[in-house]
Symmetry: C2
Subunit: 330 residues, 2 copies
Amino acid sequence: MAETYDVLGIGNAIVDVLSRTDDAFLEAQKLNKSSMQLIDADRAEALYGAMGPGIEISGGSAANTIAGLASFGAASAFIGMVKADQLGRVFHHDIIALGVDYTTPARADGEPTARCLILVTPDGERTMNTFLGASQTLGPDDVDESQIARANIVYLEGYLFDPAPAKEAFYKAARLAHKHGGRVALTLSDSFCVDRHREEFRVLVSDEVDILFANEAEIISLYEVASFEEACAKVRTDCPLAVLTRSAEGAVILSGGTASEVPAKKVDALVDTTGAGDLFAAGFMFGLSQDRPLEDCARLGAMAAAEVIGHMGARPEVSLIEQAKKDGLV
Amino acid sequence: MAETYDVLGIGNAIVDVLSRTDDAFLEAQKLNKSSMQLIDADRAEALYGAMGPGIEISGGSAANTIAGLASFGAASAFIGMVKADQLGRVFHHDIIALGVDYTTPARADGEPTARCLILVTPDGERTMNTFLGASQTLGPDDVDESQIARANIVYLEGYLFDPAPAKEAFYKAARLAHKHGGRVALTLSDSFCVDRHREEFRVLVSDEVDILFANEAEIISLYEVASFEEACAKVRTDCPLAVLTRSAEGAVILSGGTASEVPAKKVDALVDTTGAGDLFAAGFMFGLSQDRPLEDCARLGAMAAAEVIGHMGARPEVSLIEQAKKDGLV
């Protein structure tokens, strides 16, 4: 166990089930392309039955970010809930195998480990359908003050606002992080997630968040404005550091009075966008942990995002620190 | 359910857990590189704990072949045993999603669904460690005569000789296939598997097998000879049709008095050899189902093998019939 964590993440503990499909299937199933929607057990069963063969890879937004940080060699920890079932064992194995401190005790009873049915279309876009299962039982008792106290950054995913007890855990972790001198980072996760929790997110961003990660659709949805530029103007006054990603158009970093733009890293073949935002956040926060200038942090984020969209699944397939060395970023 | 099956496969029903590693890890774990070894539950737990993050993909040798046949559009069925647990559900979903008839009822109790811990080294070689679990409870009662009667080819994996009840199921299926005018195909599976069951395999090949699939190491091991050429001379007298694969050197087809050689299909990047032999058999038997000349069958096999070694996992990622059309093979 590390003395201090560069980043401690809290999020839904999910195993992804990825399957290639086409747009016609998304339409037939009435799915919102490129978004994340929550589904119940019956819907999960029906959709799984209708979709093609899958591959199972550990996922979860904040968990992917923490896996990415571990791949950079950062000291990291994760809090999230699985059940003690086969998929829970998979999730647990995959994250501790990276050297992440993950000690949340698995639930012995109740709903199974969360899974996300991810449909990947030929354009590389992913459409996510999440059955939260055991993950939604994460609560404030699962957040340990002594562990939070050791984190330089506590990273929280917006998706935690969907299950009520997890939201309580979220607020507790944010409060404890500040009490112990840590920073609070938040990703807005998904524009529909922002729709569901807009008012609370606005207060949170304004009052609690030190580092905000969002993509263009999410930040526009947060402030209900017409353009990215207007959203930038709003978030500047709300949050000391905002990291806004715009897919192939790169990222905009707003810090105090300054703004900088960093281009996306070119990829040979876009295979699956699952985890692009999660890995951007990983690279960025790794840069922060190394006290790199913000533009360098964004370049590390762009590199990690480029790695993950080049293959199926949201966890890096190569050592990100080795890739960063190859790219001359560290 | 199809009226007749081009191929019905019987094999171990396994979910693969694939993880990238290096040769040092194989040595530290005392593993026979590129082979398959059987492991018990304790060893599976220990090895899983020691290995890196994984991805889960349905596997099983004959099951991979049947999945490949379905991807070619052949009418196919599979018999193999899982438990009614999460990994069993994954296996079941992935094979029926391809249109395969798979109706073996999952065990409600007993050991969990089989898994194979597959370590993939940077050279693309796979080293497999199989915990058979529920799969080894497959027995003769799971082989239904009316279903076997509808199969033009009954395809059996040599790995079925490891669990005793599965071996009985194997013999029953072979006997019934011949009773109903079908052909019996066998893959020798693995040279260590041949070591374990050499005498029985020799009798089987000589007395029961109409189509034999083997790689160079397996056929040499079967006859305990010094060279591939000697093995070819032996198998010619034993079996009406032998399909012998030699990795990058292509395949040799021995049928009656004739021998033909077909080169391997070049691959851009060898990622993971898992399933190469299984998919070669799929393409070859698809060709047989279409009454193609044997050399064309081997070309279809080489194409399917090339697809599967270009990515992680032993199931095709693209439609093999579409790929065959692109390659001008159908």
